[in-house]
């Protein structure tokens, strides 16, 4: 882990080269971005994989509404801005053609942390991962009070 992504990975996310980012973990398949923003690093959240974890009672479908409901089970509510807000933790959900593809979580310094598929976690600017070929664009911000963290 040297703080930078391999070039072949950067090619998938060209915005990263022009924005600030750093690698913050090793590669692993143990968790995906949707679990990562929920604070889980030994589990994969996936509504449409029969072997994926998904909160009980939430529809198993690849829709923004299902993802909002999933994160509501751990205290998040919809929010209309991506600004750093003291006392709150925020997550961003990306969609492509209306289907959720990625999620990331805001850090205390206003940057965002993401798990890149099966690659590493990175800390980055929000626009660094927006990409029409993979994750799409940020479609929804959610927030929860920091004192509700489990």
């Amino acid at each position: 882990m040297n703080g930078r992504l391999e070039y072949r990975k950067l090619l998938r996310f060209p915005n990263l080269e022009n924005t600030e980012y750093e690698v913050t973990s090793e590669e692993t398949v143990d968790y995906n971005c949707f679990a990562f923003v929920a604070g889980e690093e030994d589990c994969r959240w996936d509504p449409v994989d029969p072997d994926g974890y998904w909160p009980d009672g939430v529809p198993r479908e690849l829709t923004l509404d299902a993802f909002i409901k999933a994160y509501q089970t751990i205290g998040y509510e919809c929010c209309d801005n991506r600004d750093l807000e003291p006392g709150f933790q925020k997550i961003a959900i990306y969609t492509y053609n209306g289907e959720p593809q990625h999620a990331e979580i805001q850090t205390e310094n206003g940057m965002w942390k993401s798990k890149l598929g099966d690659w590493e976690d990175i800390q980055h600017e929000l626009k660094g991962l927006e990409n029409p070929n993979y994750y799409g664009v940020v479609q929804q911000i959610l927030k929860r009070p920091v004192n509700s963290l489990k």
Partner: protein, 114 residues
């Protein structure tokens, strides 16, 4: 299961283990290269190389178990499709190491060697 009234004869070329393993390794490399950045297993498993691996059928199951034993990866979709079974318990869903272990155990119990 209703058996056919008469046995028909047909033939198809049988690939050697070496050919199967070489094709499997090539497809795995292509699949990993092009899907590692994706977050959802459904999208990874729809990749043409992964679909081709599923299409290779039972002969590649030991190769998947060998790979899975070295390091957990997204082989559960393929294993379900090829074997028609699923030993993963509901409480193991999403937990890669536990799911890999469940499948490896299943493979040993069902006569696979790798």
């Amino acid at each position: 299961m209703k058996l056919p009234d008469r046995i028909t004869t047909y033939k198809y070329p049988i690939k050697s283990h070496v050919e199967i393993e070489a094709e499997f390794n090539s497809l795995v490399e292509e699949w990993r290269d092009q899907t590692r950045m994706l977050s959802l297993v459904t999208q990874k498993s729809m990749h043409p190389a992964y679909q081709r691996i599923i299409g290779m059928g039972q002969p590649i199951v030991p190769l998947i178990f060998r790979d899975l034993e070295q390091k957990p990866d997204h082989w559960f979709w393929a294993l379900r499709a090829i074997t028609g079974d699923n030993p993963v318990k509901p409480e193991q869903r999403g937990r890669m190491k536990q799911m890999a272990q469940a499948w490896i155990q299943w493979g040993k119990e069902h006569g696979y060697e790798w």
